[in-house]
């Protein structure tokens, strides 16, 4: 407990980083820098198809290549009950495909060899007999009644629907819309993106078959969660598993999930009694590991004629890929509701979300701690901007009019001060869409930089003078 004379150090003070000394000397210890005695190298064969039945896999030519120690297939993993693993969203995900492949880049087989070069060579010698099926690449198509079922592995599954979720007061929201003077709506799509840390994912698995003790060095942001999943997959007690996260070359959410490569490398180490290193390349990282966003969003705002907001309705269609693997299933949707309804003094709001399987990589990670904050901010601010255009008023004024007031009960600080600061900048102007004159891209970017402010902190940040997650991009006609 600080006293009156004891300043709190930390906030507002620069702190010398202890890790810089090794990084600037090239003496960091990233996972690919780890070399263990007797270590083998693993490479993964991935599906060239988004959706295809596997009729057979012939690994004999790969197995015969000098330097190859083992070829691991889904069939082999299934013998050890390891062909599937749980996801963080209570679904299952194929470790190595057995029945069919469900996205391009899905893990089909793995080669363990004395060198990384030989392991990659051997991938080209594995013959897989695929039978192509219709790929489903949008959630809209996925939910059509005649769409082929992606998750045929699930008993009794007859469609590609995953979940329906809702929050808010549906009846009050419907009433607000029935009584509204003006309803503004927006359909938008926040595309899939990838966190793409500069260091790709990978691990060195070191299992001692005699003791059953597993040590896995891994570029992981969530070593504890991963230990739990590993314990579930392997049927081992957690104390038998040690996950070591060495220096990590960026993560941004991409290094939260458990990826099949980790499981296969660990299983291979157990079966072979030698450490196994698996480091994916950039292409593998981009096509198969945790993505973010991929929301098709519909928003509606109910307003009075004077611009007062009276209700908000949002419906989302989430493209979850082939396996539902949102890194934190509850927080994402709840976070979205909190953000879309969190800045403006809305008497009523209702949000629904539907998830669908598609033939894309699984994932659903935060990407820089956006627990659906980015999607929600984008939707609500685009909606408010559109409302201003349709009402013919200054978007900043419309925002200030509707921000939760200082005395409001739902937030401790109103975001209005941020907008006020932005709009009192010397260069700030607002022109109606019709009179807006096109300006060059460069000056537009400069201007947008000056006149926008975005926070992404917590909802209630009592000490922060910059209010959380309010975007006030001014100057119209730049959508």
């Amino acid at each position: 407990m600080a006293t009156e004379t004891e300043p709190i150090r930390g906030i507002g003070h620069s702190v010398r980083r202890v890790e810089d000394d090794r990084f600037i000397r090239g003496a960091g210890n990233y996972v690919d820098d780890i070399k263990l005695p007797g270590m083998l190298h693993m490479a993964i064969l991935r599906s060239p198809y988004a959706h295809a039945k596997i009729n057979g896999i012939d690994a004999s030519r790969a197995q015969a290549l000098p330097g190859v120690v083992a070829v691991v297939t889904g069939e082999l993993m299934a013998q050890h009950n390891l062909a599937w693993m749980p996801t963080m969203s209570y679904d299952t995900q194929a470790v190595l495909a057995t029945d069919k492949v469900r996205f391009q880049g899905q893990e089909v087989a793995a080669v363990v060899a004395e060198s990384a070069y030989v392991a990659k060579d051997a991938l080209e010698l594995i013959d897989v007999d695929y039978e192509a099926l219709e790929p489903i690449v949008t959630p809209q198509r996925a939910l059509e009644s005649d769409a082929p079922v992606i998750r045929t592995d699930k008993e009794d599954k007859t469609d590609n629907h995953i979940y329906d979720w809702e929050s808010g007061d549906k009846e009050a929201t419907e009433r607000a819309f029935a009584e509204a003077d003006k309803v503004v709506s927006l359909d938008t799509f926040y595309p899939r993106c990838h966190p793409s840390p500069l260091e790709t994912c990978g691990c060195v698995a070191d299992v001692n078959p005699a003791t059953g003790q597993a040590t896995i060095y891994m570029t992981s942001q969530a070593p504890h969660a991963i230990r739990t999943v590993f314990a579930l997959v392997a049927g081992l007690p957690e104390e038998k598993i040690r996950i070591v996260s060495p220096d990590i070359g960026g993560g941004f959410g991409n290094k939260v999930p458990v990826y099949p490569g980790y499981v296969v490398a660990t299983a291979a180490s157990l079966l072979l009694g030698r450490p196994v290193k698996w480091i994916e390349d950039r292409t593998e990282n981009l096509i198969s590991t945790g993505f973010a966003r991929d929301f098709h969003m519909h928003g509606e705002l109910a307003l009075k004629a004077d611009g007062t907001m009276t209700g908000l309705r949002v419906s989302l269609l989430a493209d979850e890929g082939a396996f539902h693997a949102d890194a934190q299933p509850s927080k994402f949707k709840v976070g979205l509701f909190g953000i879309v309804s969190g800045s403006y003094d809305l008497p009523a709001a209702h949000v629904t979300a539907t998830g669908a399987y598609t033939n894309k990589a699984p994932g659903g990670v935060a990407y820089r701690c956006s627990f659906r904050v980015t999607e929600a901010s984008y939707l609500i601010e685009r909606l408010v901007q559109n409302a201003a255009y349709e009402l013919g008023v200054d978007p900043a004024d419309l925002r200030k009019k509707n921000f939760i007031p200082k005395t409001g009960s739902r937030t401790s600080r109103p975001p209005a001060s941020c907008t006020t600061r932005a709009t009192t900048r010397p260069r700030w102007t607002w022109r109606s869409r019709r009179s807006a004159t096109p300006s060059s891209g460069a000056s537009r970017r400069r201007h947008a930089r000056r006149a926008s402010c975005t926070g992404s902190g917590s909802r209630r940040s009592p000490r922060s003078s910059a209010p959380a997650r309010t975007t006030s991009t001014t100057s119209s006609g730049w959508r």
Partner: protein, 171 residues
């Protein structure tokens, strides 16, 4: 085949497959893991090393192509305990976060300062345009390279400025 390269001033000999990439020669054969692999397609610059003083991407060059030539990696930037001005500046200006792009960034910066001892911000940005950082953004990397230029020229204000103490926050 056997090759001889001078790495950080030391002559090294290695017996490598002709197809072995330079980055693997450095990391796997010579044990210099400060050179990183980010994309294996020349896109990210994490594998940048200096070949006879010029930055090259070691993931798209064969080790055998370096035969008889001189290489500088991040491990060779400092002189013993004494940091290269670029290294010191990256630390002081917070030019790094995860450290993965840092060796490549620093080597490009060091090579730039050999050619252009007092680069403008634009000069620095052009020089590092083949290097990607995913953590910090580029502001502090540019600042660090310019700070290193001033330090080398002896015109620097002290690199480390103690931040002004803010108003104490009391409970």
């Amino acid at each position: 085949m056997e090759i001889t390269v001078t790495v950080n001033g030391v002559e090294r000999t290695a017996d490598v497959e002709p197809r072995m990439l330079l980055v693997h020669l450095l990391r796997e054969e010579l044990g210099l893991t400060g050179t990183h692999i980010g994309c294996d397609t020349s896109g990210c610059g994490a594998c940048t090393v200096l070949l006879d003083g010029t930055p090259v991407k070691s993931c798209t060059m064969f080790g055998v192509q370096a035969d008889g030539r001189s290489l500088t990696t991040v491990e060779g930037l400092a002189s013993g305990a004494e940091l290269h001005p670029v290294q010191a500046a990256f630390k002081e200006e917070h030019g790094l976060q995860c450290g993965f792009c840092t060796p490549g960034m620093m080597l490009v910066g060091a090579a730039l300062l050999e050619d252009n001892p007092m680069p403008t911000e634009d000069d620095v940005r052009v020089a590092i345009s083949g290097n990607i950082c995913r953590c910090t953004g580029y502001m502090n990397i540019v600042k660090a390279i310019q700070a290193a230029a001033r330090a080398r020229a002896g015109t620097a204000e002290p690199l480390v400025a103690e931040p002004a103490a803010p108003e104490p926050v009391t409970a």
